[in-house]
Amino acid sequence: MKNAVLREIPEEILKITGKEPFRGNHYMDGKEIEHTGVKVRAHMNNTESKLVKDIHEALVKCNAHDGMTVSFHHHFREGDLIVNMVMEEIHKMGFKDITICASSLGKAHDPLVPMIEDGTITRIESSGVRGKIGEAISAGKLKGLAIMRSHGGRVRAIETGESHIDIAFIGSPTSDDYGNLRGIGGKADCGVLSYAIVDGDYADYCVAITDCLVPYPNFPAHISQTKIDYVCVVDEIGIPSKIATGAAKPTTDQRKLLMAQYCTQVVVNTPWFRDGFSYQTGVGGASIASTKYLGEIMRERNIRMGFGVGGLTKDMCKLLEDGMANVLLDVQDFDLDAVHSLRNVNHHRIAAGVYADPLNKGAVVNKLDYVVLASLEVDVHFNCNVVVGSDGVITGAQGGHPDTAQGAKCAIVICPLLQGRIPAICTDVTTVTTPGESIDVVVTDYGVAVNPARPDILEALEKADCVPLKTIEELRDIAYSIVGEPEKVEFDDRIVGIIEARDGTIMDVVRKTKPYVL
């Protein structure tokens, strides 16, 4: 069956997953949703200790079993040691048929591949995967399906019980012996624990893992003792230099700066750029440069940001510090400046559900004026692909892309026209991860295209005469005129993963790649 973005979703996949094909951004709007019940074991004994001596003991006490689902968060990014440490123990104990439900997985988790190959891990639910796990899934090594869902979509799936977590492992920079967790004050600070909050709320068992045990009470707690069953102290939970790095050096790449300038011009010449506007951006060189340029114009025109959201970096925090932003709402910190900025009383931690859950009573993304995003590919229907490489291999993550793009009044995607010899603006993306109806403006180094569904934005930019405007088809044609139209990637029939839309319907499927033969 073809869905709303004209992707063929095979009946067998709809049957196996019990899902519907994607029917458009507002299909679920106003519908009633039931949240699943939560199992809690009462801890009434005041002499009981929640401390366990190691992961092994935690697994035993949490009734680990074949076929269970274990969950993790990705606040430690490429410095994460928790996933591997827990999975090694599960592997050692001989459990099979495990589902990993992670907010994201990266190259740090390459050691899981042998566990995929030997059937320890048979299903993966994640925002996406990078590195060797992506290659393994695309090569058909995962027995079950990989489900890629956005940050908001993950919260929805857990809340509705679609994704049932047996044991959540929550790495925390600090914890006391009764499970009050904070993202700061330890050896490997990540600032916030936003993505793990829903795990704490809904998992049958919750194990906190820390390398910095602090005296009770570790307050104010980012995840409360009322959610935590056991606390396990280990030597190291993460590699600090890979968790929150020093702020990225501003890019000097003129191509990125050019795109950043175009992006800033789009923002300042559209109607939502007024005192109190709201804004979110990413961590790429062009995005960071856009924030810098935007800050300059805000200062010139004395326009203050009402609130900024993120995924935060130094540049956004600087706006808060300088009084150019009133409030920051934080779900993740990408550098140490962002972690330190949390001391500011107007820099607030928010849970992933508050940030982006599509089926609650209204998420923060719905209040966004602008979001600046990146994409591996954008097609002439404005569909974006941020998960599957142009070679067909899974290599990225949805993150908050579909959530923020849908929520924001003006969703801008920055994308160089060519990625090496690959045209990033193309006729059809390899895989649809964010639907074109969510994307309003595409900024490339060759010009800016506005989605025809947004004549208001087009009119504003034409009137301002501030950027070289092109149609998306013109951009595609320029790309093809330089590097040619690439042949379609050949896939096997077997479906190895699904791209879930925010609302739980199926946006697209990912097939096993065929080995490339010259």
């Binding site: 003129q254 191509r255 050019l258 060759y446 005129s481 330089i482």
Partner: protein, 300 residues
């Protein structure tokens, strides 16, 4: 007939290594006035043929969208320059930059080879222009003769690295070592009615110093500057963009001169300044620059 491109706007001429296809595939997005597609110093000796191959196909296949395509050939003291010219002319370049020019005869040799290539590849005679890089004391001293020796020659450029070595000076960052050459070259170029271009600034971490230098060469009368990084382009263009008060004044001067000429008046005042016909060309140049910089939308 003079090639209409001879006096085109050339504020920025960006060097690009032909050995790197990724650099030459789309430099026009940065909006330089000219690109300098380099077959000479930037290209490793064993890659010269590969660079020519990339150059030829880039010139042939890509649309540089109005940006002038200048090709820097290898020196006439090498065995490479004639084939460089054939490839460049066959591909469709606009101009050839002659490195290490010391005497008018150097230009004449290249002119001959270019004319031959134009005939060989069916391009109109005189369609390919020339410019000469002066890289030695001898070249600078012969500047006026070099400027005068060919109708095809649109300008001369100072090549600071080799020049400073030749005069046994170090590059100081202050420009003191180039003072004489700069002044001499600009006078020679103006005497011969050709353009004059300044040398590159290579310290990309010192953009303040770069801006200072651009302001200086602009004040000296240079037409533009050689560029090694696209980051430098907006700075040069900004410095070369006429200020609003200069545009308004130039507009008044042109209109008044046109009006007074018709009435037979030679000298008059504009905004309290004495004006005569000698101001006409300068005012026209200001308006042309303002148009090219996108800051003048008037009818002159």
């Amino acid at each position: 007939m003079i090639n209409p491109n001879k006096y085109r706007l050339r504020r920025t001429m960006m060097f690009l290594n032909c050995q790197k296809p990724s650099l030459i595939k789309d430099p026009y997005i940065y909006k330089p006035d000219s690109v300098m597609l380099d077959l000479e110093d930037a290209v490793a000796e064993r890659e010269k043929d590969a660079a020519r191959y990339s150059l030829y196909h880039a010139l042939k296949e890509l649309d540089y969208r109005g940006v002038e395509k200048v090709v820097r050939i290898n020196g006439i003291d090498t065995g490479l320059w004639k084939e460089d010219i054939r490839c460049a002319v066959a591909g469709g370049c606009d101009s050839i930059r002659i490195p290490k020019t010391e005497y008018p005869r150097d230009v004449k040799m290249v002119e001959e080879a270019v004319a031959e290539a134009e005939r060989e590849f069916g391009r109109p005679e005189g369609s390919v222009l020339l410019m000469a890089a002066l890289e030695s004391a001898r070249g600078v001293m012969n500047a006026v003769d070099i400027c005068d020796c060919s109708e095809r020659l649109f300008g001369i450029a100072l090549s600071g690295g080799d020049y400073s070595k030749d005069i046994q000076a170090n590059i100081s960052g202050t420009g003191i070592e180039f003072m004489g050459a700069r002044q001499h070259m600009i006078i020679a170029a103006r005497a011969a009615k050709v353009q004059c271009f300044d040398t590159v600034w290579t310290d990309l971490d010192d953009m303040h110093g770069f801006r200072k230098e651009v302001e200086m060469i602009h004040a000296m009368g240079f037409d533009g500057k050689s560029i090694v990084n696209p980051r430098q382009i907006p700075i040069v263009h900004e410095v070369y963009t006429p200020k609003e008060k200069d545009i308004i004044f130039a507009e008044k001067v042109i209109r008044e001169i046109d009006d007074k000429k018709a009435k037979g008046i030679g000298v008059f005042t504009v905004d309290g300044k004495m004006i005569d016909i000698a101001f006409y060309d300068g005012a026209k140049r200001t308006i042309a620059l303002a148009k090219a910089s996108g800051v003048y939308k008037g009818d002159l």
